[in-house]
Symmetry: C2
Subunit: 429 residues, 2 copies
């Protein structure tokens, strides 16, 4: 690709109001934006930027960031549309986000004038910390929460209540929940994944900035050490319990399984969501100091897999299917029926599978000197009840003694916009 | 290297008590440790592990992690020796840390039995989340805080007060300080840097665990996007103000400058610290939303450099020395004397230079929906007053309006232990 601007160029359906608004705020209307020539700065001219090898499509069918080979770093952010009740302003926000996201996923700055190409007398459009960095496989995936359609108080702020997916509702309480409202919910969410945390942070920061005056950051989470894989080429990583996590995840190549378990179909409804999915986020604190004092054999019993290879306790290697009928000479099953692998397995859940995209997190430490750490669990499912079914099954498994879910959210993720259109356009048609 | 165990093998001076203690705690004394054969597990046998290309020496002259080419990820932790006043227990802690650190820096687990090689009836020595990961250029650098030598109340808990470096004291207050005691100080510190955050987190977690019953985690910080470089081959990265940071940093190859500015000499005293350094940590919150509304020209005036190339405003490229005498036609200096580059420059500070090793951080967001983000500044200096001099100079520079220092600490970092010895051995001799 010789001209990164020529691929996936934001089209006529995309607004620049948010960016203009930022410039206007500094009293320099129209000066900072739309400048050509010098506007193509470092990221655009960097030979590494926007190479097909480290970029993913923003426009298309399914959104990037779901089946995309899992990147190592996450910045997740939930937003509330607090500062406006205008449907037009919500549409403009999604257009502005689409414009900026489509550029950043190509390794470009949020606008043509970017961090240094505008007027010196205006604040830059782009905050600049990703200048010179490659696209880093950045994906930006946006979701719509239940409260976007109808607030907890029942208000239909944006005339969207009729379009709400009937199944999109706050998740029911589960055993092991101790939810912090400050780490739960949100009218909108952004999942930014990249090989470089600076690129993911840059994306969330600039999209937050573009949202100014319309939506406000409600909560956010950084993660590392992806605890899943979506490609057979990826090694299965380990969670902070030291076990491989995501061995049985759905792979991007398994289109039949994705159609069955992940993508909302035209028959599922509503129509605007077909080709999209439901995203469930769960912030799961791990009692790691307690876990670390558990005997190895018990850790493996709880998990249902060996700690070394990740093989099921019924034998074989990591990818050998667990044999839940296998038993010791004593008659005791080799895989405890209350183990995590048994309770999470499709066999225990009517065949349900989820596409997982979790990340480890460490948020410093508690006042007691314990690491404030765990798993930021992200899963994509074709319908919310699929997650609910599996969560009810694992909520009483042996591992739950060492877990506490402190944050939770659900969002409907619309399909990727068509070229030149914007995120969720069909919802507003 | 065919046998990673043969290089830098922990010697007779290193204790195993902490690890034994963990096993003893489970009532399985002597079973989980010292097992040969099966004990050399994944990390040791992984062909990528312990290759010279991604390991650094734990034993030697100067500690690794100071001039080492700056890795992309940081986990920093400060500890208080809360649970013992025994000098012998402190020595044993440092021996245990040395044993485990020397192994982890080779890509090995914390002990020979590790995460899966011990008895199934004991908790594993190693927590396991780094199994299968390469050494990732991990460096573990340990420092001694003022309170290790004498508590704030004046207690000499470990008989070390006589050995305290006279200059090792809590830093004086600076303009722009708003210090959180929960993010300041600490009897001991560990700086773990690695290419992979999971490897750095694994190191701090396991060293915290080994400290159990002796020292307790006081505060900790994750960082990414190194804001400095110690090798001419490294690109200068950008901080969250979007500017290149660390352009003029000391390089590992400049041994004369390191001797002048970083390493404590035998004449500086005390003798046990010769070859070591002083580490200053400052958690600097950036008012990024405010900064982002500042005009580009003003951002550059405040910094004293251009945002694009990082060249000084007096002209040239990034590495051109700033010309503080250069002036516009009007007579105004091209580099504002109150700019950050002017105030931090050796010319303004009697020639003082520091070796910087800062990292960007994002700790989620505030209740106001602003990113809780900034710079975790780490600097190594030959004496604390060198940092104090520079800090007093920059504390009134133009950038300080956008900064708030919320955490602070200082530690004396002893030289690297001789082969088979332990961190700070000379302090206890």
């Amino acid at each position: 690709m010789t001209d990164p601007e020529s691929q996936g160029r934001p089209g006529a359906g995309l607004s620049r109001r948010g960016l203009l608004g930022l410039a206007l705020g500094a009293g320099a209307a129209g000066v900072a934006v739309g400048v050509g020539g010098a506007a193509l700065v470092a990221r655009a001219t960097d030979p590494r930027a926007a190479s097909p090898a480290d970029t993913h499509p923003f426009f298309g069918e399914h959104p990037s960031g779901i089946t995309t080979e899992v990147q190592d770093h996450l910045h997740f952010a939930a937003f509330d549309v607090m500062d406006t009740t205008s449907r037009d302003e919500l549409i403009e926000l999604l257009q502005d986000w689409s414009y900026a996201a489509s550029r950043m996923m190509l390794g470009l700055e949020v606008s043509a004038s970017g961090a240094i190409g505008g007027s010196p007398d205006a604040p830059p459009d782009d905050t600049g910390e990703a200048l010179g960095l490659p696209a880093s496989n950045l994906t930006i995936t946006v979701g719509f929460g239940p409260t976007l359609f109808r607030t907890d108080e029942g208000a239909d702020r944006f005339g969207l209540a009729d379009q709400a997916p009937p199944a999109l509702a706050m998740l029911p309480p589960f055993l092991g929940d101790d939810l912090d409202p400050g780490h739960s919910g949100g009218d909108l969410c952004i999942q930014a994944c990249a090989d470089d945390p600076q690129v993911a942070v840059h994306a969330v920061r600039n999209l937050s900035r573009i949202a100014f005056g319309r939506a406000r950051l409600r909560w956010s989470q950084l993660g590392f050490g992806r605890t899943s894989r979506t490609s057979a080429q990826q090694q299965t990583p380990r969670n902070l319990f030291g076990f491989k996590d995501g061995t049985a995840n759905l792979l991007a190549t398994d289109e039949q399984a994705l159609a069955e378990h992940v993508w909302v179909s035209t028959e599922d409804g509503p129509a605007w969501l077909a080709g999209g999915s439901y995203l469930v986020a769960r912030k799961i604190a791990m009692k790691i100091e307690t876990w670390d004092r558990v005997r190895l054999a018990e850790q493996e019993q709880i998990t249902g897999r060996t700690k070394g290879s990740g093989a099921p306790l019924s034998g074989g290697d990591e990818f050998t299917p667990p044999d839940f009928a296998a038993a010791w000479g004593s008659g005791m099953p080799t895989i405890d029926p209350a183990s995590h692998v048994a309770r999470a397995h499709p066999d225990a859940n009517g065949g349900i599978r989820m596409l997982r995209r979790g990340y480890n997190y460490v948020d410093g430490n508690t006042a007691l000197g314990r690491l404030d750490a765990g798993l930021f669990f992200l899963a994509y499912v074709r319908s919310p009840e699929r997650f609910i079914t599996v969560q009810r099954s694992v909520a009483t498994d042996l591992m739950m003694e060492y877990l506490l879910t402190i944050g939770s959210g659900i969002w409907a993720v619309p399909p990727a916009p068509a070229e030149g259109s914007f995120i969720g356009a069909a919802l507003f048609a």
